[in-house]
């Protein structure tokens, strides 16, 4: 199994932590990350792909691990100046972070696809693992809330997930196609595992599944598909997962996560502190909280171990 690929469907920081652990558990060049781009936003004319950037920063050791987003050793002169001249300041852009946005934007305006740009950036960040956007076509996660319809970043950043969510949709998904390499990775008969990262199922993984062809490829995959539950002791570690589950009338439990991925996954890794076992799909347990690198490696290894057990 040492040359077999591991494919990860991932969103933001939680998923990036898992992929980092994985990159220390197996040969990094065997990892293919398929990244949510439903959070992508064009802000001030800049093409911003927050989940891709979080993954690039995390894997290259440039992430601000204390803050949980953005770059370490960041400065904020751009934002300070923008604020002084009355520019929009709800979306924070660090000075170093801007380099990736400006370069990506210039390349995309010159006609390169998001997956070409992402591969180029990953290479410039010195990464050996592959990073694929879910699609080269624009897909926009939008939330219907008690404050009206909100684009993802307006909900997540500007309103800090405060509005109550009634529905989520992925504008543009129907007309989108998987990025080059995505279906090939998911249908690789020799792959060791396909992991669904402990990212928000509704906001980070569902947009990926909404791209036509990806859900079917996952359901038909020869490789074992293992989800890592984002819940630890019945709550989300970070972000709005648990709040959102309650708002859409879902019990906040690993069982709900397993049911959400029903028909797609062959097993689920849940937290050792979770009260109830999951039924309907094989489970494994470990301490899924990922504070440091050792935690991340442990969770990655536990997920791979579950996948191995499902294959044999």
């Amino acid at each position: 199994m040492s040359d077999a690929k591991v494919i990860v469907l991932t969103g933001g920081i939680g998923g990036a932590k898992l992929v980092l652990g994985l990159a220390h558990a197996i040969t990094p060049s065997l990892i293919v990350s398929i990244v949510n781009t439903g959070d992508d936003v064009e802000h001030l004319g800049l093409c911003i792909s927050p989940d891709i950037d979080t993954l690039l920063y995390t894997l290259s050791g440039k992430a601000d691990t204390a803050k949980g987003w953005g770059r370490a050793d960041e400065t904020w002169t751009f934002m300070d100046t923008l604020r002084q001249i009355g520019g929009p300041d709800w979306f924070l852009l660090g000075d170093g972070d801007l380099a990736i946005h400006v370069l990506r934007t210039a390349w995309m305006k010159a006609g390169r696809s998001l997956s070409e740009v992402t591969a180029d950036l990953a290479s410039r960040f010195g990464l050996e693992s592959r990073v694929l956007p879910m699609s080269d076509d624009p897909v926009a996660t939008r939330l219907t809330t008690d404050e009206g319809e909100l684009e993802f970043q307006r909900y997540f950043v500007e309103r800090r997930c405060a509005p109550e969510v009634n529905a989520i949709d992925f504008a543009g998904a129907e007309a989108s196609a998987p990025a080059p390499g995505v279906i090939e990775a998911l249908t690789d008969p020799d792959a060791a595992a396909i992991l669904i990262a402990p990212s928000n199922p509704f906001l980070s993984v569902d947009p990926i599944l909404a791209v036509p062809g990806i859900r079917d490829a996952l359901a038909a995959a020869r490789a074992p598909v293992v989800a890592i539950s984002p819940l630890v002791g019945g709550e989300a570690v970070k972000g709005p997962t648990a709040k959102l589950m309650r708002e859409i009338g879902m019990e906040v439990s690993a069982q709900s996560i397993a049911d959400h991925y029903c028909g797609l996954i062959d097993g689920i890794l849940i937290d050792e502190g979770d009260r109830d076992d999951v039924s309907g799909v094989p489970q494994a347990r470990c301490d899924t909280l990922m504070n440091d690198l050792d935690d991340r490696i442990r969770v990655a290894q536990a997920a791979l171990s579950l996948a191995r057990s499902l294959r044999s």
Copy 2:
């Protein structure tokens, strides 16, 4: 004459210093700057107007006066990061400076003209004087050199004016129109003076004069037109003026400057240290070196005084 406008044709830092002096010599709201945009460049997808920015920064007290360009208290995390990922680093973009470029670019891509954007920025910088680009149409200063054809910023920034210049042209100038307000300002019969700033005549003022209608309006102006020679003791204070004059076979003297503006100016202010008097046009002398604010006010007042003497 206290309500009469003063119009200034200006380029980069030398011109900005004069306008700053003027803003301390008369009511700022009476000043109309017509700014060279032949240096403008689209770099990394960003619309950059170096001479307009230098003027905005200088007038609002945000310029780096020691360095002579850019903003005071600037940081460079963007450039450091861009360099780390192999982005183009020949054109320096400070973190704070980026705010103005990003905002201008977003506004222009949304369909606003350069003069609308410039007026908006000037207002956000708290300026009372008017700042007009010479044109809303793209005009690009290009130099034919011993190293081939170079765009202005490649010559000025990347090659630091080292190549020998054979010819200069202003691409797009023929099809350009003066920005709104430019001809009105130049033909204002009540204007106190029209000043040509001590900017590079060939690289900063000639592009303005190349916009159809501006040269004629200047030649026909009722207001006295006064040039301030950029030479001090027979040399340029800063930049390539003297080197360029030699390369195009011109004597480096105030007389050459006066001859260059022949038919357009009614008088010229030259440095008190210049050896020879100018013939063919009335002259005045003062110490034209502008190190501090007092110097700038002195030069502005000397130019206004010469203009007054020409009118009466």
